[in-house]
């Protein structure tokens, strides 16, 4: 099912299998038929670990969504609540249990906390008088979920908001725990680098946990050579920019959630002969997006401008392959051809799908609005007129374009100018409040708190220095045959990835000055390996680095890291981990406060 997880440099299927084993063990603890009541937020992440079939094998007969009131009827022995440890959810569970029909045969209640059980929640259940009703209370430690062959995600949407806005470091604790689990399976990671306050905190917790569990160390040859922890707020700029890789654009336009995208169905209507006039599907088409699909793995990280050529090349190969049948003369040749048919047909379907998606995206990228927006973004990133009110933004507000687009642009200008002049900032804020409503005062306040918006008071604009030293803008980015990571944004090289690249070669010592300009401390730690586990590197063998983005990572950044892994002389391969896959829109959205929409 998840073969694509095993192909990479590091076999992430081990992690997935470990997670599945734990799940099965828990399910078997509750013998007999069962119904699962889901905290809706968890269904997506769980889909990456286990499909319904696995649950069914373990006698899960029904599934419900957790909501207040009475539980739906189900003739099962066990009711299992799969929930995050949140107080508001505990109240709903208590309500469910208290309103259970007393006349029916009693059902056994179980609760599975994901990713960790919480005393606070159990206390709440006790206060509600239902704690005694549970047969099993358990935790399902699901911190890092294998998302693709080289990608792990905690799928924690609010991690950035919690860490940087609310000063709630729960997700960092889970991160540290997740990294400990990872080390239990893949060996101790000898070197830890990091940049940022949160990175420091996670590293401290990891080192402490290692001390605490001294003695229970696993004797596994380390798979990872280096761990790099990066705070998202070290690089606030990158997620704000529009991603220009194929996968990045799919995410920007349609949004990828838990590895799936929902697309407008019209383009995917089955065009079979004889049923031309059939109804068009109305449900959005849901497609998995991962490296299990050969073609997608090939084009996902390309700049969108290079995707067309790749698709047509692929089309030629596939039709040539189908033409082969005319050359098949002997029975043996025909047999060989037939044996390849399923694979070829899958390739053809895949090609058709991606051609449709590319067409959908092209309609948007060729529009004037997209072009204008991109032009402004690139002006900001190159430092053109970042210190005054931008007419394009002004016009967009006047025409009431989506607020998130405006916020992205304004934040970007602020970041590229190391803060806006008070007058300029106030102008934007006022325009936004008057146009979109005063309730956004809170959102603006949040953006200021996390540093996405700020007023330039004393400090000089240091962005140009950072840009020049780290070569964040490459004038002649080659989109077709890239030679630098800047291709993912057609010119802009993501800061986070540049830092990663420079760490591998020549090392951070060369950029001490710039590192000091970026927020938070940078550090290096070494973890002692048990004797006998020191890796003897073969000549020419690449190093493996795990890059952990605390607070989210974009698909374009991932593309850039994959590009680095594939570069012939890079010498390092990257595995990426993050709290959540984000894009500018979803990220800024997570920072919004909507008092008018509260219940």
């Amino acid at each position: 099912m998840a073969a694509h997880l095993s192909y990479g440099r590091v076999n992430l299927n081990i992690l997935r299998e470990a997670a599945r084993k734990d799940l099965r063990e828990f399910l078997d603890k509750c013998a007999g038929s069962k119904a699962i009541v889901w905290d809706e937020y968890l269904t997506g992440p769980f889909g990456l670990i286990a499909q319904y079939s696995l649950l069914k094998e373990h006698e899960v007969e029904k599934m419900f969504t957790l909501k207040s009131g009475r539980l739906p009827p189900a003739d099962v022995k066990n009711i299992i609540f799969f929930v995050r440890p949140r107080l508001e959810l505990m109240d709903i569970i208590a309500e469910n249990i208290l309103s259970e029909d007393k006349l029916q045969t009693p059902r056994e209640f179980n609760i599975l906390f994901v990713p960790r059980r919480s005393m606070l929640c159990e206390q709440r259940l006790k206060e509600q008088g239902v704690l005694g009703s549970f047969t099993n209370i358990d935790e399902y430690i699901l911190d890092l979920i294998p998302y693709d062959g080289d990608l792990l995600s905690m799928e924690s949407e609010s991690a950035f908001r919690e860490c940087y806005l609310e000063n709630d470091q729960t997700s960092l604790y889970h991160t540290a725990k997740g990294l400990m689990t990872l080390q239990a399976l893949y060996g101790t990671i000898p070197q830890i680098f990091g940049k940022g306050e949160c990175a420091r905190h996670v590293a401290n917790m990891m080192l402490r946990m290692k001390r605490e569990f001294a003695g229970s160390q696993t004797q596994i040859l380390p798979v990872f050579d280096t761990l790099l922890l990066l705070d998202r707020n070290v690089d606030l700029l990158t997620p704000l920019a529009t991603q220009l890789t194929y996968e990045g654009l799919i995410d920007e336009i349609y949004g990828i959630t838990n590895g799936y995208v929902k697309l407008p169905p019209e383009k995917f209507a089955q065009k079979k002969q004889g049923e031309g006039g059939k109804d068009l599907p109305t449900e959005p088409k849901k497609m998995p997006l991962n490296s299990a699909e050969e073609l997608y793995a090939e084009i996902r990280d390309k700049n969108f401008n290079a995707v067309g050529a790749a698709l047509s090349k692929k089309a030629k190969i596939i039709s040539a392959a189908f033409e082969e049948r005319h050359n098949a003369k002997t029975v043996g040749e025909i047999k060989q051809f037939v044996s390849q048919l399923p694979h070829m047909q899958a390739a053809r379907t895949s090609l058709a799908n991606h051609t449709s998606i590319a067409e959908l995206i092209k309609d948007i990228t060729t529009s004037e609005a997209f072009f204008d927006n991109l032009t402004v973004e690139q002006e900001f990133m190159t430092g053109v007129d970042t210190d005054k009110v931008n007419t394009y933004i002004e016009d967009c507000i006047a025409q009431k374009d989506p607020l998130l687009k405006i916020l992205r642009l304004v934040c970007m200008q602020s970041v590229c100018n190391n803060g806006l002049k008070q007058k300029v900032l106030d102008f934007y804020k006022r325009e936004i409040l008057q146009t979109y409503g005063y309730e956004h005062l809170l959102t603006l306040n949040n953006l200021e708190k996390v540093g996405l918006l700020k007023s330039q008071i004393t400090t000089r604009n240091n962005y140009p220095t950072i840009r020049k030293t780290l070569k964040l803008w490459m004038e002649d980015a080659n989109e077709q045959n890239p030679n630098d990571i800047s291709y993912v944004y057609s010119g802009y090289a993501p800061l986070s990835v540049r830092l990663t690249q420079l760490l591998a070669r020549p090392g951070w010592r060369s950029i001490e000055e710039v590192l000091k300009l970026l927020p938070g401390p940078h550090f290096e730690e070494r973890q002692q390996l048990p004797p006998g586990l020191h890796k003897k590197r073969q000549q020419g063998e690449n190093r493996t680095t795990l890059v952990f983005f605390l607070g989210g990572v974009t698909y374009a950044e991932i593309a850039a890291l994959r590009f680095l892994s594939q570069m012939e002389d890079s010498g390092t391969e990257y595995i990426i981990a993050t709290t959540k896959l984000i894009n500018g829109t979803s990220w800024v959205k997570s920072l919004m406060d909507r008092p008018d929409q509260q219940v």
């Binding site: 013998a31 007999g32 440890p85 107080l87 508001e88 960790r116 919480s118 005393m119 606070l120 206390q123 609310e166 000063n167 709630d168 470091q169 729960t170 960092l172 604790y173 540290a176 905190h201 401290n204 917790m205 402490r208 001390r211 605490e212 569990f213 001294a214 003695g215 229970s216 002004e394 016009d395 507000i397 006047a398 025409q399 009431k400 106030d426 804020k429 006022r430 325009e431 409040l433 008057q434 146009t435 979109y436 409503g437 005063y438 309730e439 005062l441 809170l442 306040n445 406060d593 008092p595 008018d596 509260q598």
Partner: protein
């Protein structure tokens, strides 16, 4: 060696043997008569209560606890009520079930641990009979009360009393009964005369064992096997019926020719054995019944007790301790007289080899020719495991080792682990330890549990030796034992805190993965708080320290430890605790010194206690957050007045926070709300809650231009935005006349291209043309193109001599219809390039 089979008795296809485990070390004057006695399975301890019925205060009964070899572990005078039954828990605790349903728990050194009651029903009706049983859920108790109802608890650690349904017509004690575990449920099987009932949670079902001999009029005794899979019934006709405990199959029925009800009956079947067999005991008579009609009979010299085990039955008398079991297949194959099994031949070969006889070679050849040498070695190793005598074990292992020499690539694991296991087993079987485990039992029990048992008996050095010998990872083995040792050590009250703490830290210093917090908890439970705190300092896991620190009321320390651990849930826990423990002022002060805890608590309040949140901000003089708080609150208010007053509070707070922008913006919001209300009253337009921009747009679209104008002025809306707004509003209405007037009202701050665009967007080229001329030269080409005027676009482009624009226009021309224009443009372009 020659006498290995001396104590074998055949029964059907199999043999049974009775071996002596110990000569009992106790000295019982009156034997086992008039005793309540209970021995724990897996070679566990034996409890003995003499003359339990004796009530006179001058001569109270004596409770004694012995190891399986009969050495005394504890003994004391029983001062509580009348004991009806004794039993052992799965972790070797003694259960004393009293007549009134009270259950007292003692450890195996006779220290009282706790007590509980089996419920009111039992208190009222008294205990008639009780049974202790073991299942995967722990140790359970079943009681038949004076009202002849059954009360049952499956796990005494998690006491849930169940009263089973009534048995119809049962007015006296049942003739016999048993507890079994089936389908994750504990059930009771109960016989009353010839009737048999199964009681579960919900129902009492009458059942009939298939093929039970018809002569019987009453079932007088029953026994359930160790695994709960099999059932044996003894009837008044002297028949033993054996079958599956679900009463679906009959395995055999044997006539014993004894009609007296037996004193005890137990199963004696080893796992995977072909033959079902039970052991039945009368006063001086023991009988083994199996599948065939024959039985094995033994005479007993003394009063005895049967203790069922996984793979046999132990027989304890006042002088001896024996094990009766089916001879394991491997032993039978090797030792049966005239056996030609490979193992037997290998043993013979080795004997000859030791005698330096060439016959050794002959035997060996014989096995090798059949290529059964591997099998022979395996047999010898397995048989060694089942033999009790170290000498026999050694002989068999030597033979195995000899055989191994002639095999290449024979996996050594089995041999090595058997040698290790036997060394451990012989160690614990030793008289001084007195745990007579068989190898089968040991495998089932696991090393971990065995070590636990040794620890429980305070045999720390032996436990540590075993851990080291078996190379158990430190944190599972030695460390765990040391922890228990430390827990025991801290209870020795005669030693000073300092001394104990030092002793503990010295012994435990090197060991990995020690949980000091558990040791400290123990110390605290013994009332040694100071010692507990000293010990906690050794605990590397700060998270582990928290619960105990809270218990000891060291909450401040607990808070810093929780924060140190990074586990936010733990921090929350301490915070909640502090909140309940301290007065509000102190609580807030404490939080103030711990920013991590403070922000977590804020998060908590945000979702759970809005008002506390306000107090928190107040105490910190956080005016900015207070302002935000009021703004948020204002959106929850339906009534405008309340809303305005909250917003006013927000304005005040923002001003105090010196956030002029926010203060002003909020004032503006109030102004807008007031305006919207007025408008609602005057004109009936519902604008409440809309943004300023949306309000103006609606006003324009319904023709309330004056009011829109007023908002524009009052709120100092930038001209540009207002022009855009009015422009689109008028175009939406297709009010072209008004639009033209607007365009002429003054110079447009947004230029005139948007005018062209909105008209074109609404398919009105005629109107659009009016504005083309007004467009700035830079946008001329775009404007002409927008209305589809190629000529005009061309003119403009040529006039501006802009190559880019010329190309743009060219790209829009078709070569067939617009030939003239194309030519003109091309000329202009070449002209431009020349220059």
């Amino acid at each position: 060696m020659a006498f290995v089979t001396a104590n074998w008795n055949p029964l059907g296809e199999a043999f049974y043997r009775k071996i002596e485990l110990y000569e009992m070390g106790w000295n019982l004057k009156d034997g086992l008569r008039d005793c309540l006695i209970s021995a724990a399975p897996y070679g566990g301890p034996i409890a003995l209560l003499r003359e339990p019925q004796r009530r006179s205060p001058s001569a109270r009964p004596q409770l004694e606890i012995y190891s399986a070899s009969g050495s005394s572990l504890a003994g004391f005078v029983w001062k509580s009520g009348v004991v009806k039954h004794l039993g052992w828990t799965v972790c070797d605790d003694l259960l004393c079930i009293q007549e009134d349903g009270t259950v007292l728990i003692y450890d195996l050194f006779g220290s009282f641990k706790r007590h509980f009651s089996m419920g009111n029903d039992v208190v009222q009706n008294q205990v008639v009979e009780a049974k202790v049983f073991h299942s995967p859920y722990g140790t359970g108790i079943a009681i038949i009360t004076g009202a002849f109802r059954v009360t049952l608890a499956t796990n005494i650690e998690d006491l849930k009393l169940r009263r089973l349904p009534e048995v119809p017509g049962l007015h006296e004690a049942p003739s016999c009964w048993a507890v079994l575990t089936q389908d994750r449920q504990s059930k009771v099987l109960l016989a009353y005369g010839a009737d048999l009932f199964i009681l579960d949670n919900t129902a009492c079902t009458a059942v009939t064992p298939p093929g039970l001999s018809p002569q019987a009029t009453s079932i007088v005794s029953m026994a359930v096997s160790f695994s709960y899979k099999y059932l044996a019934l003894f009837t008044d006709s002297g028949h033993v019926w054996m079958g599956s405990s679900n009463l679906k199959d009959k395995l055999s029925e044997v006539e014993t020719k004894v009609r007296t009800p037996p004193k005890q009956m137990t199963w004696c079947r080893r796992p995977k054995s072909e033959q079902p067999s039970v052991v039945i005991m009368w006063d001086r008579h023991l009988l083994v019944a199996g599948k065939c009609r024959d039985t094995i009979q033994y005479h007993l010299d003394d009063d005895s007790v049967l203790v069922p085990e996984l793979d046999g039955v132990r027989i304890i008398s006042s002088t001896h301790h024996e094990l009766l079991q089916e001879v394991p297949a491997a032993c039978e194959a090797i030792f049966k007289i005239a056996s030609m099994a490979p193992g037997a031949l290998l043993l013979e070969a080795h004997k000859e080899y030791e005698k330096q006889s060439q016959k050794a070679d002959e035997y060996l050849r014989e096995i090798k020719e059949q290529s059964l040498l591997g099998e022979a070695v395996r047999q010898c190793v397995e048989a060694a495991g089942h033999e009790h005598e170290p000498e026999t074990q050694k002989t068999l292992l030597r033979a195995a080792s000899f055989g191994k020499c002639f095999l290449s690539n024979f996996p050594p694991e089995q041999f090595v682990s058997m040698c290790r296991d036997l060394r451990v087993l012989n160690g614990v079987r030793d008289y001084t330890v007195g745990i007579p485990l068989t190898h089968t039992q040991f495998r089932q029990m696991t090393v971990q549990v065995l070590i636990d048992r040794l620890v429980y008996r305070k045999l720390y050095p032996l436990a540590i030796e075993i851990c080291r010998y078996l190379k158990i990872p430190e944190y599972q083995g030695v460390s765990r034992v040391l922890k228990h040792w430390a827990c025991c050590k801290v209870q020795q009250k005669e030693e000073a805190d300092e001394v104990v703490a030092r002793a503990v830290s010295i012994k435990l210093g090197e060991a990995a993965g020690i949980s000091y917090s558990e040791i400290a908890t123990k110390a605290y439970e013994c009332g040694r708080t100071e010692l507990a705190i000293k010990l906690l300092e050794f605990e590397p896991r700060s998270g582990e320290q928290v619960p105990l620190l809270l218990k000891m009321k060291r909450s401040q320390l607990a808070l810093s430890k929780a924060i140190e651990s990074g586990d936010t849930d733990l921090v929350y826990t301490v915070v909640t605790y502090l909140k309940n423990e301290m007065n509000r002022g102190d609580f807030f002060m404490t939080l103030r010194n711990q920013p991590v805890a403070l922000s977590l608590y804020r998060q908590f309040c945000k979702h759970q206690e809005q008002n506390t949140l306000k107090d928190l901000f107040n105490q910190d003089d956080d005016h900015q957050e207070l302002g935000n708080f009021y703004v948020k609150a204002s959106y929850k208010e339906k009534r405008l007045e309340a809303r305005l007053s909250l917003l006013q509070s927000a304005v005040d707070e923002y001003s105090k926070a010196k956030n002029e922008f926010a203060a002003k913006a909020t004032e503006e919001e109030m102004r807008l709300l007031r305006f919207q209300r007025r408008l609602e009253e005057d004109k009936g337009e519902h604008l409440m809650g809309m943004s300023l921009q949306d309000s103006m747009q609606i006003l324009l679209s319904v023709g309330l231009h004056k009011q829109a104008e007023q908002l524009y002025k009052d709120f100092r809306v930038p001209d540009k935005r207002y022009w855009w707004l009015k422009l689109t509003a008028l175009a939406d209405k297709e009010d072209w006349e008004e639009l033209e007037k607007f365009a002429k009202s003054k110079k447009s701050p947004i230029g005139y291209l948007p005018f062209v665009d909105v008209c074109v967007k609404r398919q009105n080229k005629y109107e659009a043309k009016k504005y083309v001329s007004k467009v700035t030269p830079e946008q001329k080409v775009k404007a002409h193109l927008a209305i589809g005027d190629l000529e005009g676009a061309a003119d403009a482009a040529i006039e501006r001599r802009n190559e880019g624009e010329i190309s743009t226009v060219l790209s829009r021309c078709s070569t067939t219809t617009d030939r003239a224009v194309v030519e003109r443009l091309n000329r202009a372009r070449s002209g431009a390039t020349k220059k």
